[in-house]
Symmetry: C2
Subunit: 354 residues, 2 copies
């Protein structure tokens, strides 16, 4: 097994995290042989870790030992750096969001095709255990047919860092966590989108969205709610998923939560009315004990190999990429539509992403 | 203090609950002197409780001792019974939803005005402690300006009872729990509605909605989400409310939940990135401990008197009703719009309810 030699471009939060993860898990297949960052501070950090420093991007691309580059820079320069690398004959892994628009992404794809180099986007959250539980539920019918998926991440720290506040650099939450949640959703649901509405929030007064709510209806009727918030001092569950025979709630990345299904017993006691506020309710009373059953969450292991393992197989043995560029492109199309919305109104468009 | 003599019309779940509550709390002001129900079974139950039974609605209205009637029948006959009672010179308390449409309600209001009788709708959930906590938060600024209110009730028992499944009787969840949640919201937010969208659910295959999601934007920008579900085997919090300086979450009618506000301290540590799934996140990491503060929920007592006490004051001393007919009418206008939606599409209308 001959590892792929990598140069890591952008040694910030994500770049250094990639290097760390690769060195822990994927050294057999991936070898980081140098880094490049425009910041002197980050160069120093990288040097201290023992990495070779390239004096310029051109120097990294000029290094014949380098077979591939990993781009983990601010979002707005992904396109330019990716095209330059592809033209230098390097394979490319690019951080999300791949670009700021579908149009930019298409420019990259054209060059990748011309140069016959691999271009793959690092949509790592397809391997998140919480997501994999929901994915398994969509397949195994434990709670029947899934007809509603609510996927939320909510924090109270505002928009982090520096360039993430700026529109020119591709800041904002749609292009940050939004990309992950949309990628997961479209990977999960193999259906054309029938309808989409979005509502961006600008609570913090930034020029970019500090969160958003998005409602998607698929051709088969399945509804999804995607929400990202950065001014949420307490939060709603990470996942709330309704099936015809049960409901799943995953509170957090620690996989706390519950999976409750209708029991298969034919006869069960009717629920007793409960006092709710100053009134009674039978409708909203807990179901009687024999009417439901609490199930363990299904397995949260991916049946596909790790991202880097797959990248290796794609480069060395023409395997199918797990993160396909056509999938990434669907997410970018969706984001194009959402970012066209004015902050104060709900944007609603009929669209057909197939 | 001379109590108001009542006849209770419809001795089902709500009718009998009213009688029970009145006898516990309001005997000084309200005296139930008889009941009428078309069902023999319910007549028997009422007789067993020691109530006088009227042989017909006309008999109840013909009883000169009766000053007021309480209407707690299926929704579709509220209008006809109310008008008949008002024309007989009786004051009326009517269960919610007051009618099936605004138009029907206007017919009642016209007769109430002609006959100079009091007509009041029993919107009892304005006295719910969970609601009163949220109401207090909207006033006391503990979490700054409120800009998002999410109000949900979710159960797993389907639509209860018999007539509630039928369109002709005014069944469905918009006209059931929906009325409560819309009434609370509009009582809370004294602003014109700018925009409303709704999505009704028909999971159970009934001819009426078994739940719905509704998104409302008010003139001042405040957003509200109102959701009712009857196929939710596990549920989302009853209230989720965002302010500029904090967030409130009330899980259930037991008032569990939390109120977290930004701390006033000028300097606090930046949050540390956390492992979330297979990635790191600083944005969604819990805020550092000195950045937020957990507060107790505010007082959940109404500053207004009880429903029956108010009704007594309205009838005897021309007090202002707490549940005003103009408020009830706004809710009916909203419901008119929601029920015009086709089940499979989101209905969105510009409207001005002032």
């Amino acid at each position: 097994m001959k590892p792929i030699n990598f140069a890591v471009i952008g040694y910030g939060g994500m770049g250094s995290y990639h290097v760390h993860t690769i060195m822990l898990q994927d050294q057999e297949r991936i070898q980081v042989i140098g880094t490049y960052d425009i910041s002197e501070g980050r160069q120093t950090v990288s040097a201290e870790k023992g990495h070779k420093l390239y004096p310029s991007y051109e120097a990294a691309l000029g290094d014949e030992q380098v077979e591939a580059v990993l781009i983990a820079t601010p979002n707005d320069v992904h396109k330019e750096l990716a095209i330059q690398a592809l033209q230098a004959g390097k394979h490319v892994i690019c951080e999300k969001p791949v670009t700021l628009t579908t149009e930019e992404f298409d420019e990259i794809l054209a060059v990748a095709q011309e140069t016959n180099c691999v271009f793959m986007v690092h949509q790592n959250r397809r391997w998140d255990p919480d997501f994999l539980i929901i994915r398994e539920l969509c397949k195994n019918q434990q709670i029947g047919d899934i007809f509603q998926i609510e996927s939320r991440v909510q924090g109270a720290n505002g928009i982090p860092g520096d360039w993430r506040h700026l529109k020119a650099h591709g800041g904002g939450m749609v292009l940050d966590w939004g990309v992950h949640l949309f990628d997961q959703l479209l990977f999960l649901i193999d259906q054309p989108i029938k309808k989409i509405s979005a509502d961006l929030s600008y609570i913090l007064g930034d020029e970019v969205d500090d969160g958003f709510s998005c409602w998607i209806t698929f051709e088969n009727g399945l509804r999804a709610v995607i929400e990202v918030g950065t001014t949420n001092y307490t939060k709603l569950p990470r996942w709330y998923v309704k099936g015809t025979e049960g409901t799943a709630k995953i509170e957090d990345w620690d996989l706390s939560g519950e999976l409750i299904a209708a029991s298969k017993s034919e006869i069960f006691s009717t629920p007793q009315p409960i006092q709710a506020g100053v009134g009674l309710t039978k409708t909203m009373a807990p179901p009687s004990e024999d009417a439901t059953v609490k199930l363990p969450f299904p397995n949260s292991e991916a049946e596909y190999v790790s991202f880097y393992c797959n990248f290796y197989e794609v480069v060395r043995h023409q395997a199918d990429p797990i993160v396909k560029n056509c999938e990434v492109r669907k997410v970018m199309e969706l984001i194009d539509i959402i970012l066209m919305a004015k902050p104060e109104i709900v944007n609603e468009k009929e669209l057909q992403i197939v």
